[in-house]
């Protein structure tokens, strides 16, 4: 062998052109996902929503706060595709601006939940024993706090603030994330490749970063796609209660809440925001389901 390995070493160690590219589990999952029409539909819709939300200020001719009291509420027309609200503001524009808030809350709050939850869950699950007991009991205690009262308290202490909303929702959602990640880590901890990593002398931090967390990502991604709609709903719920976003800013929850008030005279003010919210939530759920199927290793065995 020494002979052959030396010759290959001379040819710049290995002829890189001949190297067969492997398919990682991620690529495998992506291929499977592409075959799932419903999930891909979900992915397209969500991407479309995100792009629209990002481009809103440049593509809409109206502003979300300027009122036209003379116009008042009008039904959908050529000038205002989805009609106007009681203050004469273009509904489509308000929905688009609303999507900025709603999606931002959805993604950012989930990101907050994700970072805390994954870190907390991994450390807790990996070290086990007393560390685990302490960290998980903390989670249990936080779980026991009533969510709405928690948010109201935060609002009272810090004042209303969109950033606070992210923090508040994230601070609640990470609990479930931490539990899920911990469960995953506990089972991965038993795998022989973790023992193998220990016997190689890898430091704990590296084992967690390189061996544990990448293998929990499948579950985490699925949970994320299911958390985002949850968070968007939470924001809607808080706004509906008057605890969330303040007018003249708009969010889907806020729009629906106004829509309900004027439901009988101007039904479109309720219907359109509700449809947009539902379609987005459905799409995210389809995507989540699709991802679960695609990332489930059992699916690849057939």
């Amino acid at each position: 062998m020494t002979q052959s390995s030396e010759t290959t070493a001379e040819q710049s160690i290995i002829d890189l052109d001949s190297v067969e590219s492997g398919t990682s589990l991620w690529e495998d999952a992506w291929n499977r996902l592409q075959q799932n029409k419903l999930a891909m539909f979900g992915l397209y819709v969500v991407s479309f929503m995100i792009i629209i939300a990002l481009l809103t200020p440049w593509i809409t001719p109206y502003s979300y706060f300027e009122q036209d009291l003379d116009l008042g509420a009008t039904a959908p027309s050529a000038a205002h595709w989805l009609g106007t609200d009681t203050l004469g503001r273009d509904l489509l524009t308000r929905i688009m601006y609303g999507s900025r808030i709603s999606l931002m809350v959805g993604f950012l709050a989930t990101a907050v939940a994700l970072s805390i939850g994954v870190l907390w869950g991994t450390v807790s699950g990996y070290f086990g024993g007393r560390v685990d007991a302490f960290m998980m009991r903390t989670v249990d205690i936080l779980y026991a706090l009533p969510f709405t009262i928690f948010i109201i308290l935060l609002m009272v202490v810090f004042g209303r603030n969109i950033l606070l909303l992210f923090m508040a929702i994230g601070a609640v959602e990470w609990l479930t994330m931490a539990r899920i990640v911990r469960g995953q880590v506990l089972s991965i901890r038993q795998q022989e490749y973790i023992d193998a990593a220990i016997t190689m002398g890898l430091p704990k931090r590296q084992i967690m970063l390189r061996h544990v967390i990448p293998n929990t990502l499948g579950t985490i991604i699925i949970y994320v796609t299911l958390t985002i709609p949850n968070v968007i709903l939470l924001e809607s719920f808080l706004s509906f209660l008057g605890l969330g976003v303040q007018p003249p800013q708009s969010s889907w929850g806020l729009l629906i809440s106004y829509g309900v008030e004027t439901m009988e005279e101007y039904p479109w003010l309720l219907i359109f925001p509700a449809v947009v919210l539902s379609v987005t939530l459905f799409s995210l759920n389809f995507l989540g389901d699709g991802l679960r199927d695609a990332l489930d290793p059992k699916a690849s065995r057939d």
């Binding site: 062998m1 070493a9 160690i13 290995i14 492997g22 990682s24 023992d195 193998a196």
Partner: protein, 556 residues
């Protein structure tokens, strides 16, 4: 007329990646009281074939394309689910591979044993219970009257398999399908279960279809055998024909794959005069505290003595075989040496360093000198890393080196274990079990260890692959002068591979000596019993030999 005649059976799996022809024109017949052995490696279609008889295949993706299976004038393959249900468990019963998962843990044995009786026959509960107790008696479960009200977890693996057999027999079936019934069991237990199946068959003249990958197991119990490979029957005939007048190359390959001989002369280790042992274990104790499982309970004084006062010594380049049944402490001993579990007392010295005293940076550096190959190559490789990442990580963690140097070393490692360099960017799931184990071996060798522990490295692999991996280990150990501890429950493998053998029972080493001495002239009763339980791939020897039985009291 034959009891069961299977003709021209074709079963295809329609998967996303195309059609997999799992069974391709299989034919066999089974007479009353006859035992048919179906032999083949994993993926040969032997299990699929038998599952189809009872309508147990998942359809889709499986589809029976053609064929017939005539049982008493009816075609099992074209039967309605309702009619099939009357046959399943009643006329044709099945024993599954893993007794740990095939019993319902929430049901008492009595309920599980009487269930097939009361479903298929119109008999009272008392009557069913009586027959269940009789069946338990027959399969050799002590105190059946009391134990019928136990739950499955109160039984050991061997006892559970007996329960499974009792369950299959309780309805007095005509055909018993045994799908690798002893693969998950220890050799001594395996021998008992095989004897039991043979006895029952003799006394009740049941027909048995015995599926196994192990020609040694089949040799003693089958009347005729079919050998399957990739969905085809490659050879069929009486047992003697298959073993003594082997025709097909594949069957020969299977037979030769079973190591039955001593270590090849070229690999035998010769100690130099006066050489000092490189590796020493002295009075090793590893005890696990037993807690009673309560939330606030602390540790109790009771403990499980997994490794109980073990001492041994190895010279450089020597290979030690560590044998024993599951639960005897051999894996715990490996983990103790690897510093994966904390030991209670004793010392482990490698190359003059006491491994048990090392901590932190010292331990990290020392780890390069003792490495381990794990049992299951499907679990020991991180599925998200490429071969390159897996091997480079092992090298990089111990010493910083340039990218080119790293790549060069990885390629040379892959070459050592017989993997093509072009597969360097592939992921573990793209390799077969044997290739994965090669990757695992390469990883263990990456740090050029002095001591290598191999914990059942071939037990998850097919027989023909096993032989290749064993030869590879033998070659590498010799090439790099590595001292190896080879852990196995498979005695023939140990004989083929090792210079010295230690037999472990209940955490203690009961016999220790040169491998050939231990095998030819065993001293301890337990060793004798272990040796007498190894299935031999030779029908004549297998039919006539006597087993040495032991009881736990005699050994303790």
């Amino acid at each position: 007329m034959a009891l069961l005649t299977v003709k021209d059976l074709h079963i295809h799996f329609h998967t996303r990646n195309g059609i997999v022809k799992a069974v391709n024109g299989v034919e066999f017949s089974l007479e009353k009281g006859e035992t048919l052995g179906i032999v083949g490696e994993s993926g040969s279609g032997k299990t699929v074939c038998c599952y189809s008889l009872l309508g147990l295949l998942p359809t889709p993706p499986a589809r029976i394309e053609s064929g017939s299976a005539m049982f008493e004038g009816n075609d099992l393959l074209n039967m309605s689910e309702q009619d099939l249900r009357k046959i399943r468990g009643n006329r044709i019963a099945m024993i599954f591979q893993d007794p740990m998962t095939s019993l319902n843990p929430f049901m008492k044995l009595g309920e599980q044993l009487t269930e097939p009786l009361t479903t298929h026959n119109d008999i009272s509960k008392q009557e069913a219970r009586k027959r269940a107790i009789a069946a338990m008696q027959e399969v050799g479960i002590p105190e059946p009257e009391r134990r019928i009200d136990c739950y499955p977890h109160e039984f050991s693996g061997g006892m559970r398999q007996r329960v499974m057999i009792a369950m299959a027999l309780v309805t007095e079936p005509d055909i018993l399908i045994a799908d690798e019934p002893t693969t998950a069991l220890d050799v001594t237990i395996q021998a008992q279960i095989l004897d039991l199946i043979k006895k029952l068959q003799r006394e009740r003249s049941i027909s048995v279809i015995f599926i196994s990958h192990d020609l040694g197991v089949i040799a003693g119990c089958a009347d005729k055998i079919i050998v399957m490979h990739e969905g085809n029957i490659v050879e069929s005939g009486t047992t003697d024909e298959i073993y003594y007048q082997t025709k097909h190359d594949y069957t020969k390959k299977l037979l030769n794959a079973i190591p039955s001989s001593a270590k090849p002369e070229s690999a035998v280790f010769h100690a130099e005069e006066g050489s000092e042992p490189i590796f020493k274990i002295d009075g090793l104790l590893t005890h696990f505290p037993i807690s009673d499982g309560g939330v606030f309970s602390g540790k109790t004084d009771e403990c499980c003595k997994a490794v109980d006062d073990v001492s041994l010594q190895l010279l450089e380049g020597e290979t030690l075989g560590l044998v024993g049944e599951s639960g005897c402490g051999k894996s715990t001993m490996a983990k103790s040496i690897m510093r994966l579990v904390d030991i209670t007392a004793g010392s482990i010295t490698l190359n003059g360093k006491d491994l048990t005293r090392l901590e932190g940076e010292e331990l990290k550096t020392a780890r390069a000198e003792f490495q381990m190959v794990f049992q299951d190559p499907y679990a020991s490789l991180n599925p998200r890393m490429t071969v390159y990442d897996l091997l480079a990580e092992a090298i990089y963690v111990q010493k910083n080196c340039s990218k080119d140097e790293l790549l060069k070393q990885v390629v040379s490692l892959m070459d050592d274990v017989g993997l093509p360099a072009k597969a360097i960017r592939k992921y573990p799931h793209e390799f077969s079990g044997g290739q994965r184990q090669r990757i695992a071996i390469a990883r263990a060798l990456a740090l050029k260890p002095r001591l290598l522990i191999a914990d059942e490295p071939v037990s998850a692999l097919d027989v023909t692959i096993q032989a290749q991996i064993l030869d590879l280990l033998l070659e590498l150990v010799k090439k790099y002068q590595i001292t190896m501890i080879f852990i196995s429950h498979d005695l023939s493998v140990v004989r083929y591979l090792t210079d010295r053998t230690a037999v472990m029972y209940g955490g203690k080493i009961v016999e220790y000596g040169n491998t050939e001495d231990v095998f030819n002239n065993p001293q301890h009763l337990y060793t004798k019993s272990l040796l007498s339980a190894i299935p031999i791939a030779d029908p004549n020897k297998e039919r006539t030999r006597q087993r040495v039985a032991y009881t736990a009291d005699q050994i303790a």
